[in-house]
């Protein structure tokens, strides 16, 4: 059943007048509604123009407004006033109102476009085409190709430094000793404080048996500047060597009291 409300229209929809106002006709069957709409469609054009009558059809789920122009029926969705009217027959209108039309298709009728510009108030030249299917691809192939090229180019720009050969490590290859007993023995042998001199600006290395390393520089008016790290004992070019984290090179013991590091000779003081 469809609930009917008429505006500026006689109860039988055979005539229209602006004086008639808005009235409810209660509920009608689909057949009764079709008959009413057919009568409405045949309304006198002059009365129609002056009174601007309309019929509101409602169900529990849908509400539509029907107007007639030049013997044609147009369906409007009052909830979607920005969408164009649909030119439909009385039967099609009832099918839209009771939902059978929506069930029979996968797309709603309203996402549609007009193929010509309406010339009258309701677009009497208008007839509707189905809404175009959403495009499979947003981009044209040339654009996609350009974006892919940009992607490759940008990736290359970001990663190319990693592909360049690294500058040669200034330190010669170092092979750490892993034997615990040997490490302890070498740690105790090499542990001590070594300096280049005892004037401001002279530098020193303090190696402890626990594997900690301190690099320091003597200052004129304050305590030495200090850099703390750890060290490993091992071999480099066949000789005993000490390597430390972030010290920029190997420390080479030269006998029991002397170290060579970064081009300078350090002598043991403790």
């Amino acid at each position: 059943m469809i609930r009917i409300t008429i505006s500026n229209l006689a109860r039988d929809a055979g005539s229209a007048s602006a004086d008639l106002g808005r009235r409810s006709l209660g509920e009608l069957s689909n057949e009764g509604t079709i008959a009413l709409l057919e009568k409405f469609r045949a309304l006198d054009p002059v009365e129609n123009l002056e009174a601007e009558p309309e019929i509101v059809l409602e169900t529990r789920l849908n509400k539509f407004v029907i107007r007639t122009i030049q013997q044609r029926l147009y369906l409007y969705n009052p909830r979607r006033i920005d969408e164009p009217a649909l030119k439909l027959s009385a039967e099609q209108i009832v099918a839209e109102v009771d939902g059978t039309a929506a069930a029979a298709r996968t797309r709603a009728p309203f996402p549609a476009r007009q193929d010509s510009t309406p010339t009258g108030e309701f677009g009497d030249q208008a007839h509707l085409l189905p809404a175009p299917a959403p495009p499979e691809n947003l981009l044209e192939s040339s654009h996609r190709l350009a974006l892919a090229a940009a992607l490759v180019g940008l990736s290359g720009y970001v990663v190319y430094p990693a592909l360049l050969p690294m500058p040669a490590d200034p330190a010669p290859p170092f092979e750490a000793i892993h034997d615990v007993g040997q490490i302890e023995k070498l740690h105790s042998q090499v542990a001590g404080v070594y300096v280049t001199g005892n004037n401001p600006g002279d530098r020193g290395i303090a190696l402890a048996e626990d594997g900690t390393l301190k690099l320091f520089e003597l200052n004129a008016d304050s305590s030495p500047s200090l850099l703390q790290s750890t060290f490993q004992v091992g071999r480099s070019a066949g000789a005993f060597a000490v390597s430390g984290r972030q010290i920029g090179g190997l420390i080479l013991p030269l006998g029991k009291t002397t170290l060579r590091y970064a081009g300078e000779t350090y002598r043991r003081v403790e």
């Binding site: 959403p134 495009p135 499979e136 691809n137 947003l138 981009l139 996609r144 974006l147 892919a148 940009a150 992607l151 940008l154 990736s155 720009y157 970001v158 690294m166 500058p167 040669a168 490590d169 200034p170 600006g201 530098r203 690099l215 520089e217 500047s225 200090l226 850099l227 972030q246 010290i247 920029g248 090179g249 590091y261 970064a262 081009g263 300078e264």
Partner: protein, 159 residues
Amino acid sequence: MMLDVLLVVAVVLLALVAGAVALHRQNQQKIITQVARDFTRFKTEFQDYLGKTASPSDHPVADTEAPRKPPFRSTFQWSAPTPAGGIYRWEHIENSTAAPSIRPALRARITAFAPHQNFTLSTADLTEIDRQIDDGNLVTGAFRTGFAGWPELTIRARP
């Protein structure tokens, strides 16, 4: 359609990353150029000083050893941090360690002890500086990595 969206998003994200990388590289290049310029300036100052006050056979420049000559003064702001972190230092080199040359020598270097320990130049950056002012090799020539891996430039009087 989803592939297109992903492509656009990937390009935009990568463009942002590339922009950040470019900015970082530009800043790092500025630092490299500035440090190279500082070392060059210091070298020029020292060699100019030696040209006016010393002959190649003179003693190394040191107040105690060459009292008749004015001490070397640099226009550098030595206490200010370098663009790469750390601070510049300079020192005279004794003849024994400046071998085989007996020409007066001086070493300019960067140290990065606390509170200036945030030294930001990598080996690649230092190699680039070496390429600009010396032989491009950090284990040979006048510009090398020295104490704690920090750079140092040995400067001798012009022959």
